[in-house]
Symmetry: C2
Subunit: 199 residues, 2 copies
DNA sequence: CCTCCAAACTTGTCAGTGACAAGATTGCGT
DNA sequence: ACGCAATCTTGTCACTGACAAGTTTGGAGG
């Protein structure tokens, strides 16, 4: 039996060490388990071994938490996309990379495109989003050269819509199970429909 | 001053008349205002002028409510799509109809593709979903005739992904505002990228 | 016309939640 | 050694979804 601060028993240190990271990481777990709505600040605090309102100092809101997660997600996506572009200049592969990200980092992905869950004008989020947008748009330009002027932008929207729609439908299990269980391989074939033999 | 049932004052009728419809309709309003998470059974009851647990008799759950709404949505979508196919055999127009539905019936659309909000094996929902799926797949076949065998299915997935992704990105305001404010016209141009001059 | 039953609603209650205010504790710079 | 700012705690509020048990109603069958 210990005497600590005049009280009996174990008294945890007042400071957690790296609460912020711990919270973000636990939030990812909770989202993959129960979706973004299933994130509870209290449960989060519980998992981190911290009191109810502990998290609120790092993210003043629940929306603050999810905003931070979305920003992290856009940063990761940007890294993935630029890495892919350095490896190959095939748009299909860029699309596959987008889908792979959506599937592997599903928790992040689910939060990234839901502005209703964000603090919309958070600077970190905006910056990260623009970074990712640039990485994607740049890759599409490489392949859009059969289109001119405004058509190039439209082609970009089409490409984005295609991979985003596919990723969404896959993640929400809305695609026919007969199509197989390998999202990457399927994504490759689907993306090829848009860009054909051009790559 | 009235004497009703031995009590003084106004006593509302015990039976609402058409609570179920009123609830579904109010739910649509609440979703368009605050998203699916912003639906509260109590607020719903309040708007219908009914007690807290009133709704629970019609939809035993919150999930039950949203399931019914999703089923209604799939039915509406199926009607829209088949009506479009009778009007024209252009796939682009079918895609535009899909997008128009997603934008006009946004509340329904947001709920339809989120199985985490449903009672997954509800028969009414399953049936309605299959109906809509058939209407969409049938339309894609009309245009997929340059592909053979399994490729036709892949083309269908690509088409669905494209319009679904576009609708999602549009609704979540993730598309560049410079692209204009007319989703239908934009959707037409985007869909044309996939199916070119073929229609 | 009566009776009774199932459907439609109410009342009361419970645990869990997000948000906030005010206080306690810590470490760091000076 | 001091004090300040960042970090975490405690206590509280209004709100929510879910359920159990009771009340009312319309209508079907006698």
């Amino acid at each position: 039996m210990h005497l600590v601060n005049g009280k009996i028993g174990f008294v945890p240190p007042y400071h957690h060490g790296d609460l912020r990271r711990a919270l973000l990481s636990s939030a990812v777990d909770m989202i993959t388990e129960h979706g973004p709505a299933g994130v509870s600040l209290r449960e989060l605090a519980r998992r981190a071994g911290v009191s109810n309102a502990g998290p609120m100092h790092h993210f003043k809101d629940k929306a603050g938490l999810l905003t931070a997660l979305a920003a992290e997600g856009f940063t990761l996506l940007a890294e993935t996309l630029t890495a892919t572009r350095e490896r190959t200049d095939s748009f299909v592969e860029l699309g596959v990379a987008y889908v792979r990200f959506a599937v592997e980092k599903r928790a992040h992905f689910e939060v990234m495109f839901r502005p209703d869950l964000h603090h919309p004008d958070d600077p970190a989020l905006t910056e990260a989003r623009e970074l990712a947008g640039a990485a994607l748009a740049g890759g599409v330009e490489d392949v859009g050269d059969r289109h001119t002027g405004p058509d190039r932008r439209i082609a970009g929207v089409a490409a984005w819509s295609l991979v985003h729609g596919f990723a969404t439908l896959w993640n929400t299990r809305n695609l026919d199970p007969e199509l197989g269980d390998d999202p990457e391989e399927l994504a490759r074939r689907v993306a090829a429909v848009l860009f054909g033999q051009r790559g």
